[in-house]
């Protein structure tokens, strides 16, 4: 039966995430962007929302069950506060959720309890490669079997929280198929290099990572000898990023809407002109549509149905929508939109990341 209403429990989670996003993330977003760094205490306090442990079953140390729908609801709120902060707060998902979705029983038992701690844990996933034709389904980073190990070689970039994570999942092509490998901090052959400098997401700790003859035990292939179900991981990541795109867009839309009601020109608020009002209406409509597409794809994932196409379409739509909405928000503010005193230019720079980046968040 169709329903477009989150459950009571989900609404409580949304409410908590919104409060944190508004009081902590949003407050510090501009400063973090200028400094190129997030305040550690804010990221750490985001852990108190308990989002990840609530997604992990009791047998692995958590106290709940993973729901992609709940995940996208929370992700939208966090990204509404600040995208860099949202990515850092939920970086542990990058290890824990692929484990939950595709890990072997031993892997889950060994590693998941580490992600149910009371205090902040970082996690990381090395997916993206520094090349124009990067495609997660056709990676240039390779893994080859060698005795009881796999040997990984390649170059990665935009790896979230790489420096501070105890565990990282490195994705590499094994016989042409994308597989995940659980790599522990300090493993020989893994070099976390400089921070990546992007147009946006300046506060988010994204790193380049080089893998040179990095050897991991056979038991640390995600999913063990059965291998990795990369498709479900990719789809779960796409819905997360789509939800975050909705969050960033909503922030910009709300700001522009408020501005349009206050800013006077030609003797009245600019919102009373159709040129501005119609722009805002279209922004509103596409934000709503992107959210519904994200919910639908997330719901398919929760139903354990094939979500490949829906998740891809949701992200595709949300990528475009977030760029359109943030661009128009800048436009609605006129010259002020371009000035760093206002947040909208930052949201435009951040939103452009969605179409370029994959696999840096997951729900």
């Amino acid at each position: 039966m169709y329903s477009f209403e989150p459950s009571e429990e989900q609404l409580m989670i949304v409410d908590a995430a919104r409060k944190f996003a508004s009081k902590e993330l949003r407050e510090h977003a501009r400063n973090a962007d200028e400094k190129g760094d997030l305040a550690a205490e804010i990221v750490h306090s985001g852990w108190d929302l308990g989002l990840l442990p609530a997604s992990i079953p009791e047998e692995y140390g958590g106290f709940g069950e993973r729901s992609a729908v709940t995940g996208v609801l929370a992700a939208e709120e966090l990204a509404w506060g600040d995208l860099s902060g949202a990515l850092a707060v939920s970086s542990a998902n990058l290890v824990a959720l692929p484990l939950l979705l595709s890990g072997s029983e031993e892997q889950k038992k060994e590693i998941l309890p580490q992600f149910c701690s009371d205090s902040y844990v970082a996690g990381s996933a090395a997916v993206i490669e520094p090349r124009y034709d990067f495609d997660a389904a056709n990676l240039k980073t390779t893994a080859r079997a060698d005795g009881d190990s796999y040997v990984i070689n390649g170059m990665k970039c935009d790896v979230p929280c790489a420096a501070e994570s105890e565990w990282m999942i490195v994705y590499a092509a094994l016989d042409g198929k994308t597989e995940g490998f659980l790599v522990r901090k300090g493993t020989a052959g893994v070099q976390v290099k400089e921070r990546d400098q992007n147009m946006g997401l300046k506060a988010c700790p994204l790193y380049s990572v080089e893998l040179r003859d990095c050897r991991v035990p056979r038991s640390q292939r995600l999913g063990g000898d059965k291998g990795t179900n990369f498709d479900v991981i990719a789809s779960s990541s796409r819905v997360a990023l789509a939800a975050m795109a909705v969050g960033v867009a909503r922030a910009a839309y709300e700001y522009a809407l408020d501005y349009a009601k206050k800013r006077q020109a030609f003797g009245e608020a600019i919102g009373r002109r159709q040129s501005i009002a119609f722009m805002l209406a279209e922004m509103f409509i596409d934000i709503e549509a992107a959210r519904l597409m994200t919910w639908e794809a997330a719901w398919l994932l929760d139903e354990k149905r094939d979500a490949h196409r829906e998740a891809y379409l949701a992200k595709t739509f949300a990528d475009d929508m977030s760029l359109m909405v943030t661009d128009r928000a800048v436009q609605a503010l006129g010259g002020h939109g371009y000035i760093r005193e206002y947040p909208v230019e930052m949201w435009l720079r951040n939103a452009r990341g969605f179409a370029a980046l994959e696999g840096i968040a997951i729900v």
Binding site: M1, Y2, S3, F4, E5, P6, S7, Q10, V69, Y132, D133, F134, D135, A137, A234, L257, A260, K261, G271, R272, Q274, A277, F278, L280, A281, E282, F284, I285, D286, E288, A289, A290, L292, M293, W295, E296, W299, L300, H308, R309, E310, Y312, L313, A314, T316, F317, D319, D320, A355, E358
Partner: protein
């Protein structure tokens, strides 16, 4: 709890509708496009007979229960989308209470609903139309000049209406009716606007013209002249008082809250037909769409198809939500206009893009792509143009009245 699970009863209903769309509508689509004003009686009789047997109209669904949630609108948008996939022009010929019925549902009393709508559950095929637009005013509905003057136990209507969908079918081809909007007080503006039921055969009512259109040619678009047309006093839907300043107009708007998701659904049926045929041809030609591949690595055709699919899904989900709110008996004005804006845009773009991507085949009347492009455009025009619906959304989100945002 968020869910996108389609209820089984809608699935069951769609089975027959799909079959009809495929075997009755699609094969005759070109014929009725090229023989404008010819009436698709086989389709009409089939839909009517089935509706009589099952008690569910294909144009207006089953009657909404007195209270509580239902699946009326949700079922309807699915049925309309599927029928319009078959053919949007023929779908609009479907018998039943349709748009006029929606106005009666939105503004009539319980007694009026029974009196005027019972005929759609028995006898021969019948239609109900709605007459709003006049030669001098379309979007500016409050500017209508058709008058209703009380004369004893009657209202006397005078004026001219245009663009009445199924006007001919409702008043000439059947014992149906038309809901005619007229003003009881031309100085009162919106407040004076009231809906009146004019039944087929009423003296003083004439169908004067059938329009020749770009698309949806199977559907009749009529002009009406009301020349001292006398109707019983209680054919005024709701109340005659010009007390509440906006009540009459609100009735019109409430009608649109219900009908805009239906129009959006029809638009999206055409869009899906177009996209499916395009994809079938591409598949035959060995073009595959690589869902999941980064967009900067896709071919131009792949990018277009992916965008068309995403846009179609976006508009469809907006439509489902507007229908769901209606069924939940919650306010859906903003969602209803939102889905109409989106669907109007999307069907226009998708059908035009499909014609473009197929090159000379797209332009040829051998395929239906060019017809769908012509059919599509009406959805951005009727039941509120894209601009009017943007205005409604904009006023709501900004919190402006119609005076503050014109």
């Amino acid at each position: 709890m968020i869910s996108f699970d389609r209820p089984k009863e809608i699935d069951d209903r769609l089975a027959f509708v799909r079959q009809t769309a495929k075997t009755q509508m699609r094969p005759t689509a070109r014929h009725f496009d090229e023989h404008e004003h010819e009436v698709p009686w086989d389709f009409i009789n089939l839909m009517w007979d089935t509706a009589m047997r099952t008690g569910q109209s294909f144009r207006s669904g089953q009657p909404r229960p007195e209270e509580g949630p239902s699946l009326v609108s949700m079922t309807l948008v699915h049925v309309i989308e599927t029928l319009s996939w078959g053919d949007a022009g023929i779908y609009l010929c479907g018998p039943g209470a349709g748009l006029g019925g929606a106005a009666i549902e939105a503004t009539g009393t319980k007694e009026q609903k029974q009196r005027f709508l019972a005929r759609y559950r028995e006898g021969k095929p019948k239609w109900a139309s709605m007459a709003m637009t006049e030669p001098h005013c379309g979007s500016d509905t409050a500017a209508i000049r058709t008058t209703a003057v009380r004369d004893g136990d009657h209202w006397v209507l005078n004026g001219e209406k245009i663009f009445v969908t199924s006007g001919h079918k409702s008043l000439i081809d059947s014992d149906g009716l038309s809901v005619v909007w007229a003003t009881v007080d031309p100085s009162a503006g919106r407040a004076g606007m009231k809906p009146f039921v004019v039944e087929a055969g009423t003296p003083g009512l004439k169908v004067t013209k059938l329009e020749h259109k770009m698309g949806i040619r199977a559907s009749d678009t009529a002009s009406l002249v009301l020349d001292n047309c006398r109707i019983p006093l209680d054919n005024l839907l709701g109340s005659a008082d010009v007390v509440d300043k906006t009540k009459g107009f609100k009735g019109a708007m409430a009608t649109f809250d219900a009908t805009r998701p239906a129009v959006a659904a029809s638009a999206l049926g055409i869009a899906r037909a177009s996209l499916e045929l395009l994809k079938d041809i591409l598949t035959q030609e060995g073009v595959t769409i690589r869902y999941g591949t980064p967009r900067n690595l896709l071919s131009s055709i792949e990018r277009d198809v992916v965008e068309m699919e995403a846009q179609l899904r976006a508009a469809w989900l907006l439509t489902l939500r507007a229908a769901w709110l209606m069924d939940e008996r919650r306010s859906n004005t903003i969602e209803s206009s939102s889905c109409k804006v989106k669907a109007g845009d999307v069907v226009t773009r998708i059908t035009q893009k499909a014609v473009e991507l197929m090159g000379p085949l797209g332009y040829s009347r051998k395929l239906l792509l060019e017809k769908w492009m012509r059919d599509a455009k009406i959805n951005d025009l009727f039941e509120g143009t894209g601009q009017i619906n943007r205005l409604i959304v904009a006023r709501r989100i900004l919190g402006y009245s119609s005076q503050e945002l014109k």
